[in-house]
């Protein structure tokens, strides 16, 4: 059996298996650390920075850090919470997010976090970037306006030979997500479902299906994101 380590989050004593990532370890202890780019079962890559915490005084991402004995974590200080709120605002101002007309509304993790953090008006100027909508694939619909560039699709969606179906294109202020037209042309239903599922926002939508679950009954319509973790405590 794995070694058990003790550590603390905001002064609360926690225990976890050594080698567990801090987000997961926190969850086991009933503490919610917000995430966007992280996904269970896929190696983490700290892209969104929403899970930022202070560990022994240093700012780090909880999704990429493994717990160790005696770690002192600050998760919910005013400073950290404002940082997270700022990051969510950044993502809204960077892209084009019109929640009322989005198929993902209510299931969207970005929107849910905005509610949880009570985002009203972003502190940043809207960039209104010109981005495309890609509809050529028979099963998937890509709305680049909504992508928060979290890399989940890049990391999680591969074919049976391990080849990636999604990838970044360019860098910096011109970065975007590209889909491999050849490989995606014959994408299986399962993989197409999975692609739509891994996307935390409405940037990858499954074609030929819409509003299967009505607004009002969606994942975050009843309770805020993270509430399940906190209630399990």
């Amino acid at each position: 059996m794995a070694k058990i380590v003790t550590f603390s989050i905001d002064g609360q004593k926690c225990m976890a298996e050594e080698g567990q990532y801090l987000v997961d370890a926190a969850e086991t202890n009933g503490v919610y650390i917000p995430t966007l780019c992280n996904m269970t079962g896929v190696p983490p890559q700290g892209s969104c920075r929403v899970c930022s915490v202070k560990i022994n005084g240093k700012l780090t991402t909880a999704c990429t850090t493994k717990v160790s004995e005696g770690m002192e974590v600050i998760n919910e200080s005013e400073e950290i919470q404002d940082l997270r709120k700022a990051i969510i605002e950044l993502l809204f101002a960077e892209g084009n997010h019109f929640c009322p007309s989005c198929e993902q509304s209510g299931n969207c993790e970005l929107q849910a976090l905005a509610y949880r953090f009570q985002v009203l008006v972003p502190r940043f100027p809207y960039l209104f970037p010109e981005r495309d909508i890609e509809a050529s694939n028979p099963k998937l619909f890509k709305d680049h306006n909504r992508s928060i560039l979290c890399k989940r699709c890049i990391r999680a969606i591969t074919d049976e030979r391990g080849r990636r179906l999604f990838a970044f294109g360019k860098r910096g202020d011109r970065i975007g997500i590209s889909i491999d037209t050849k490989l995606a042309a014959n994408i299986s239903d399962e993989l197409a479902d999975r692609a739509a599922e891994v996307c935390p926002v409405g940037a990858i939508i499954r074609k030929g299906r819409g509003f299967a679950v009505p607004i009002g009954q969606r994942r975050y319509d009843g309770q805020p994101i993270g509430a399940d973790v906190e209630q399990a405590k």
């Binding site: 983490p44 890559q45 700290g46 892209s47 969104c48 920075r49 929403v50 930022s52 700012l59 991402t61 990429t64 850090t65 400073e79 940082l83 700022a86 990051i87 950044l90 993502l91 101002a93 960077e94 502190r123 940043f124 100027p125 960039l127 928060i148 560039l149 890399k151 074919d159 030979r161 080849r163 990636r164 179906l165 999604f166 990838a167 970044f168 294109g169 360019k170 860098r171 910096g172 202020d173 011109r174 970065i175 590209s178 889909i179 491999d180 050849k182 490989l183």
Partner: protein, 601 residues
């Protein structure tokens, strides 16, 4: 007959981690990377086409479209602007008959912008088909373009006297100048090839003893962060792994820095011996010298030196006559991306991927190149360490200050009489340097210390001392005279640079650099408010949540000028009324609607 592409793939054993080399070789042969070729590469490497393309599109020297028989990359860094780049760009456009970012209709000439190419002391400068052209004038541009039309080779186009020092040598044959204005005791002093290795074998130093000696000398990293070199080596030596690797970081992408280029030109053996010494210390068998693509012109020269070293037994089996120590070095080129100078991005790039920095921990000393313990050191750091091994820690400690030992090579450019390279002992003040380089102190508005990621200081700080304990720097000083519009010419150029060079992986760095740029644009356009200036200060903690140093330091050009030149911001704020959104302009907002319905205002 096998296709060129298949030959290249075979040369690199169809190894996907050598994708950078594969792409560079194919592009140099074909002039660009046609999509069918990328498909062929993807097929052979058994990765998807988007995966190949995500590496290709990360680097600005790669192109999937033809970039002209002659591709002109004109530097657009701050110092180039200060030295009259605009006129040169205009001349190129006029003579070639196309705009920057375009290729002439006959596909003869392509004109492109590129950030700092490491020639700040001889601007305006451009790279044409890999060859460096410096100190351009409108007249030269006309000559060059006429030469292109006449079908001359790039070498013929250059038709200029060769540069100083080794630049004029047979195997380098370049018009680039070193401009070494001050030599010092460590780097630009006498060094016999192989001397550092000879010291190890003569004194029978163990790897631990080498590390001890470097530790006693107090050498710290010269690449910017100032990490104690011996400590890095020790961590790596102790880390478990089948193989250990030494990387020499010659990416030198920080605008305003060019000293590594000069060191590689004048003291290549000191650099390469430094890598070998480091390899011995950490227990490596392979060293990789990662060079930015801008320095491709050094390739043949460096390859020849490596061949000479192998012939002299300084590399290979029992390298430097040290029993049981096998070590060799190869060159690895980037393809245009500033962030690749960040050590973990550099490793990613060397593995054939996008130069996206890694999450840490684990640090490269534990898990670096191909997952193995790896050290990454700056060119100059390795030279300093090699010299310590030869001449001893006591000797070394007599140079510099008590906490900053040794010498530092500076890259000085901008408004001064003698731009170029200076090797000084740590402990000079900024004023000393201004006097040394022939800058008229009364006419200096600001000095940018350490490039865009460093700080922009005003005359009240010119008495500060260059050292790790006061004003730490990777060694670049850009002197900005009174005649320049600091915000518009300098600060805007820097923040735009960061927005373009961010790898784009972290939300905070990618989006925040764009927010800074947009807000500065607003202020420059005369729509700024006091609260905009304050907001840019308030955003700093968000930047600090980024993954790497690029994101952390990206606000520095703005933040340090708000701190030191606040009046420049205040002077641009025309409207003190904070209650309305001053950037909203009714006319532009309804322009499209007006056009659509044919309404004229």
């Amino acid at each position: 007959m096998k296709s060129i592409v298949q030959n290249v793939l075979e040369k690199y054993n169809s190894d996907a981690t050598r994708l950078m080399d594969i792409l560079i070789d194919v592009q140099e042969d074909q002039g660009y990377l046609p999509p069918p070729v990328l498909a062929e590469i993807a097929e052979t490497l058994d990765i998807s086409e988007v995966d190949v393309l995500q590496t290709v599109s990360f680097y600005h020297f790669f192109s999937t479209e033809p970039r002209g028989k002659y591709s002109v990359y004109l530097n657009d860094s701050v110092v180039a602007e200060m030295m009259g780049r605009a006129k040169i760009a205009e001349a190129f456009e006029r003579e070639a008959g196309c705009k920057f970012g375009e290729v002439t209709e006959d596909e003869l000439i392509g004109l492109f912008d590129t950030p700092c190419i490491g020639m700040n002391d001889q601007e305006p400068a451009a790279i044409i088909n890999g060859v460096i052209f410096t100190e351009l004038t409108a007249f030269r541009v006309k000559e060059i373009v006429n030469g292109m039309r006449a079908g001359l080779s790039v070498e013929e186009l250059r038709a200029q006297s060769l540069g100083d020092g080794m630049n004029a040598s047979e195997s380098l044959h370049s018009t680039v100048d070193n401009n070494i204005h001050k030599t010092g005791a460590v780097i630009f002093s006498d060094y016999d090839p192989g001397e550092a290795l000879a010291a190890i074998s003569k004194e029978s130093l163990s790897p631990e003893q080498v590390i001890e000696r470097v530790k006693a000398s107090g050498v710290r990293g010269r690449g910017g962060a100032g990490f104690p070199t011996a400590l890095k080596w020790e961590f790596c030596r102790k880390a478990k792994g089948e193989k250990h690797y030494v990387f020499c970081n010659a990416d030198e992408g920080e605008p305003g820095t060019f000293k590594d280029r000069v060191i590689l030109t004048e003291r290549p053996n000191l650099v390469l011996d430094g890598m070998t010494v480091a390899g011995y210390a950490i227990g490596a068998t392979e060293g990789i010298l990662y060079l930015r693509y801008e320095y491709r012109y050094l390739r043949d020269y460096l390859e020849k030196i490596l061949a000479d070293m192998r012939a002299a037994g300084q590399l290979g089996k029992n390298a430097g006559d040290i029993k049981g120590f096998d070590f060799d070095i190869r060159l690895q080129f980037g393809a245009g991306a500033y962030v690749c100078g960040e050590e973990s991005a550099l490793i990613e790039s060397a593995e054939g991927k996008r130069g996206e920095p890694r999450d840490r921990p684990p640090f490269p000393v534990e898990k670096g190149f191909l997952g193995m313990p790896t050290i990454v050191n700056n060119v100059e750091t390795l030279c300093q360490a090699a010299k310590v091994v030869v001449k001893g820690a006591d000797w070394y400690r007599t140079l510099g200050t008590s906490q900053s030992t040794g010498t530092k090579v500076l890259s000085v450019s901008g408004d001064c009489k003698f731009p170029g390279v200076y090797e000084i002992e740590w402990g000079f003040s900024v004023n000393d340097i201004l006097n040394m380089v022939g800058a008229e102190t009364g006419e200096v508005q600001a000095v940018q210390v350490g490039g865009p990621s460093g700080s922009c200081i005003a005359s009240n700080e010119f008495s500060r001392i260059l050292s790790y304990e006061d004003l730490a720097t990777g060694g670049s000083l850009i002197i900005i005279g009174e005649r320049h519009d600091l915000l518009k010419v300098v600060v805007y150029n820097f923040i735009d640079f960061f927005a373009k060079e961010s790898c784009g992986s972290c939300s905070t760095c990618r989006a925040l650099t764009m927010m800074y740029r947009k807000t500065l644009e607003k202020i420059l356009a005369g729509h700024g408010k006091r609260s905009d200036v304050q907001a840019m200060l308030d955003w700093v903690p968000i930047a600090l949540a980024s993954r790497c140093g690029l994101g952390h330091t990206a606000p520095n050009p703005i933040v340090s000028t708000i701190k030191n030149f606040r009046h420049l911001y205040e002077g641009r704020i025309v409207n003190a009324d904070e209650t309305f959104e001053s950037s909203f302009d009714l006319e532009t907002s309804v322009a499209e609607a007006n056009r659509t319905v044919g309404r004229k205002l």
